[in-house]
């Protein structure tokens, strides 16, 4: 499968996750968000950036419990809770945010 966007093609797996992490850019992120029905705000981008940094550091996409805890540590407790993250990404912060961030499906997410 692939996404066609502004004359460029981005390969994805059958669930719509980008296959090549390096191809990610804000344009394709916005497109993926739109497909997920997510209206991107600064708060959404903050989580996306956090996830990409986490992946660069540890080479994995964190499971939701881990994501919540790690965000709490870095961005404060008012953001490090599942209610806040589910409001931003209703179909699962790890799953949906990872897709928009161009990461693979989180390990431990079935």
């Amino acid at each position: 499968m692939a996404i066609e966007l502004n004359g460029k093609s981005y390969e994805t797996d059958e669930e719509g996750y980008l296959l090549n992490l390096g191809e990610w850019n804000e344009e394709v992120a916005a497109f993926l968000a739109q497909q997920e029905g997510v209206n991107m705000t600064d708060q959404h981008w903050e989580v996306i950036t956090f996830l990409r940094d986490y992946y660069n550091e540890f080479q994995i996409a964190p499971a939701v419990r881990v994501l919540t805890k790690a965000i709490g540590k870095k961005l404060g407790p008012e953001k490090g809770n599942s209610q806040y993250l589910y409001e931003l990404f209703p179909y699962g912060p790890a799953k949906q945010a990872c897709k928009i961030a161009g990461l693979p499906k989180p390990t431990g997410c079935v």
Binding site: E57, F58, Q59, I60, P62, A63, V64, R65, V66, K69, A70, T107, G108, C109, V110
Partner: protein, 120 residues
């Protein structure tokens, strides 16, 4: 959910086979389900923890970075067999993360305490 004691027994060198990476994935999955997870490194499994993996030229992900995430997953019980390190000319200082170095016999005792043992 009932919590069980899971021990993952890692006995294979990294990269030559996919076992080591698969083991790490299952560890993370079990931990994400809030199970009581520990990992034992024996035999060539101790090589997985060696510092300084530079995998660019063989085109695979290096383990070293992901070991750092174990703490976020509350996986802190890492046991390494003393005899296996010694046979390979390694000490705890050669490893990428802090671990508990135990004799094989003591690792055997830890195994006895588990509900589930999974071997990789």
């Amino acid at each position: 959910m009932t919590t069980k004691k899971f021990m993952f027994v890692n006995r294979k060198a990294p990269y030559g086979t996919i076992y080591a990476w698969e083991a790490l994935e299952v560890v993370l999955i079990a931990a994400a389900f809030e199970q009581d997870v520990s990992i034992a490194f024996l035999d060539d499994g101790v090589f997985q923890l060696k510092k300084g993996h530079q995998t660019k030229d063989i085109g695979v992900k290096a383990f070293e970075k992901t070991w750092g995430a174990l703490e976020d997953y509350d996986v802190t019980k890492l046991y390494v067999a003393q005899e296996s390190l010694a046979e390979r000319g390694l000490t705890a200082d050669d490893l990428a993360i802090p671990v508990e170095v135990l004799s094989r016999a003591d690792i055997g005792k830890k195994m006895e305490e588990q509900d589930v043992l999974l071997s990789f």
